[in-house]
Symmetry: C2
Subunit: 464 residues, 2 copies
């Protein structure tokens, strides 16, 4: 009587006639007039539940089975048989059903079987993984994360984790969270009345990192190909549907590489990830396509199977100016593109994914490589239909003198260690960043990025 996952059963890994045990939670119970009950049992391994047919002959049929409600946990054993009903190939003819845990007061069960708003489900985040939607998100997330690691591992990238608590502010941009053990009721002061951070845990002012890139560069210039996949933080007003205070980023960094190599890597990587999800999450994606956003599948297939166009920023601006479209935000060489511009370019102009390169230097970070025109830097954004920018990257400035000029211009100080990388065996190198939750949201079609993380949080909500 071997324990089998619902996924394995539905995938046909056991032949009808086998004795099997499944363990999971009741999704629904339906009693037949013929004197038996149909139980839908899910265990998280697959989108679908397995149907367990419980005959009235079971010892505990009246005492237990007829009282089962959504959310109860059970262990059911019996014979796997070809299903008579529609919608499933096999079902279990139960010989034994053990109830492990009941649901206190089923009428008030917070996620009783009905459609709940996503907003409501965020308030019961500890129970929402039991719903179809969040079970599906969890499985897609897992497949996606594993695809990230597998992609790089198979290509000889080394995984590096950047420090999360840091004294340096990566881009001189982005509000940061302070990390401290100082007693707020009794703050140490210097003679001049400032806070004395030498008394703090790390002996200086410390923050949560906004990016692991600069650290990854140090490893890249020793190991050739590296990537980070870890959390980053932004203390910006995150009470929108598109921003998170805490999110995971994938940041590969490659040596002996220019912007072209970077763009090629970004395209190959993104198409690999989407292909992996299309291959391994068929049922979950079908669910999102049916119940959340009916454009999900077409979009993913498009991006996975189409070569990405490439276009210069300057050309992109010309196209936008000539488009005749009324945009909310202004279009002019030197301004950053907004989501509406990005989406017009890839959705309406190109009709597919697009990589825009060589942005004006004044709207980009100090570490991006200066082009010969001295006006643009070797930066790129990968734009995808339905979302706009999904990846941002650049070739890094590997020339110490140019880097120092840029740092001066942008008021970036210190970072001797980062300059050192250009003093000792510098090489052309490049990399990009991909917001993991942003990609997950794109894949699932969910509107609010809070639904792409296991435990959502708003500025006024941090219980978990």
């Amino acid at each position: 009587m071997s324990v089998v996952s619902v996924k394995a059963l539905l995938a046909g890994q056991c032949e009808p006639g086998c004795e099997v045990t499944v363990r999971g939670w009741i999704r629904s119970r339906r009693d037949s007039k013929g004197g038996f009950s149909f139980l839908a049992v899910h265990d998280g391994s697959a989108h679908a539940a397995i149907q367990v047919v419980a005959p009235a002959e079971l010892d505990n049929y009246d005492a237990d089975v007829l009282k089962l409600t959504a959310g109860c946990s059970v262990i059911a054993s019996g014979e796997l048989v070809a299903s008579q009903g529609k919608g499933q190939a096999v079902e279990i003819q139960a010989k034994h059903i053990e109830v492990c845990g009941w649901v206190d007061d089923p009428d008030t069960y917070p996620i009783a079987k009905k459609r709940h708003s996503f907003e409501y489900l965020r308030s019961v985040a500890h129970l929402r993984p039991r719903t179809n939607t969040f079970g599906a998100i969890t499985r897609v997330r897992t497949v996606l994360a594993n695809a990230v690691h597998r992609y790089f591992y198979e290509r000889e990238f080394q995984w590096v984790n950047s420090p999360l608590i840091t004294a340096s502010d990566c881009e001189g941009a982005g509000e940061m969270f302070r990390v401290s053990t100082l007693d707020l009721m009794n703050l140490p002061r210097t003679d001049s009345g400032d806070i004395d951070f030498s008394e703090d845990f790390f002996g200086r002012e410390s923050f949560l990192t906004v990016s692991g890139q600069l650290n990854a560069e140090a490893y890249c210039l020793a190991m050739s190909k590296v990537y980070t996949f870890g959390p980053t933080f932004r203390a910006e007003n995150s009470n929108t549907s598109r921003h998170l205070a805490e999110f995971w980023m994938v940041e590969p960094e490659i040596a002996f590489a220019n912007l072209d190599d970077d763009a090629a890597l970004a395209e190959d990587f993104l198409r690999y990830l989407l292909s992996a999800v299309l291959e391994h999450c068929e049922d979950d994606l079908a669910f999102f396509n049916q119940f959340v956003d009916d454009g999900v599948l077409a979009r993913l297939q498009k991006v996975a199977h189409t070569g990405f166009e490439r276009m210069d920023y300057s050309e992109a601006i010309k196209i936008l100016e000539k488009s005749g479209k009324k945009f909310e935000f202004p279009v002019r060489w030197g301004l950053d593109m907004q989501s509406e511009h990005e989406r017009y370019l890839c959705e309406e102009h190109v009709g597919g994914p697009l990589i825009v390169t060589n942005y004006p230097k004044d709207i980009k970070a100090f570490y991006m490589r200066m082009n010969d025109d001295e006006k643009t830097v070797a930066a790129m954004d990968v734009l995808a239909p339905g979302i706009g920018e999904i990846i941002g990257g650049s070739q890094r400035e590997e020339r110490l003198d140019v880097l120092e000029r840029r740092m001066l211009e942008q008021g970036v100080e210190g970072m001797e260690w980062y300059r050192d990388l250009r003093r000792y065996g510098t090489v052309a190198h490049a990399g990009f960043g991909l917001g993991f939750e942003r990609l997950l949201n794109y894949i699932t079609g969910m509107e609010n990025i809070r639904d792409a993380i296991p435990f959502p949080r708003t500025p006024k909500h941090a219980d978990y």
Copy 2:
């Protein structure tokens, strides 16, 4: 002229006679009287460097090649040939060598070729990945991290990331870092003079998490098998060689499982990880065994290939009492075991890995399942020769009434969401935690855990 990694070349993926290009950094240069130079070029993909033979006929032999020093970056192309020398099967007869980046003032290059102390190397952490030792650590770390994900993925576990910024203190234990955006020079106050955290970013006092376990339980009780693999934080005095303020933890959680299942999972997982490293990091482990700790290989093979003994805590205490050994710390039923006790048990008594189970309830956390004796809980520690505790876990208290009694006893308040998990379809479940850097240190034999993270940090050092 295809670009090939040093790893691929040394693994024989190209036949002698092929034209190849390698890109990397000079480890050493040796000039032969015969009118050519031997360059050792490493690119991070493998422990060894590839030997590049640069003939004096090269256009830039005098101008460039003869000036190469450790750390310079080069692109070398030529024919792969069987090596005449010892120590390598193949080498490259260079037809072209391009120097990408020189080393400013080779005499002061911080990691010029000689043996440096690990303490010194921590102060040049951005350059230390170029050393043999830290290149090896990086590769082992990557293999290990990928083995973690692969193990769970192949067994239908879902990857969950717990929130890092949290308002709850997991175990009621462990000093935490505060996360805040309040202006320290101008702190908001309540009427009673306390800090007004309703003005802080999340509207309440927030901290960095010490463990993802409780959150993982919520997912476990929906998806059956889950794991976290992410950072955790402890604001304890970390200025020792065994503690980090920021470290990664692996925390699997399984439903419909008791302590025996948990112990079986821990054993299987640990043996899998060590087997993966033994299989994929042969050269790097040989290096650690030769230069860092000559017991590394024997220890890893022992743990990977030996079934783990199991023993009750009460029995372990009796054995320690009868051992006749002089321990620094006292041995008595009811006290926690120290490293010296753990190591005696597995190294001298059992002679191999050991899982100790059922610890006194008073030294363990509120969420561990009470045994019928009402004196012990279903906790376990996995002890390994050469280190002592390497994994700690427990069956979780799934009975709401017992949990609430334990919370009351230990003064744990709130956490209605955690109690909810026992109200709605509770099941027996269990899990454990494995400190990733601790395991990495164990594998490499390095003494200081700071050398198991890419960017080391002491309480007085947080530049990165």
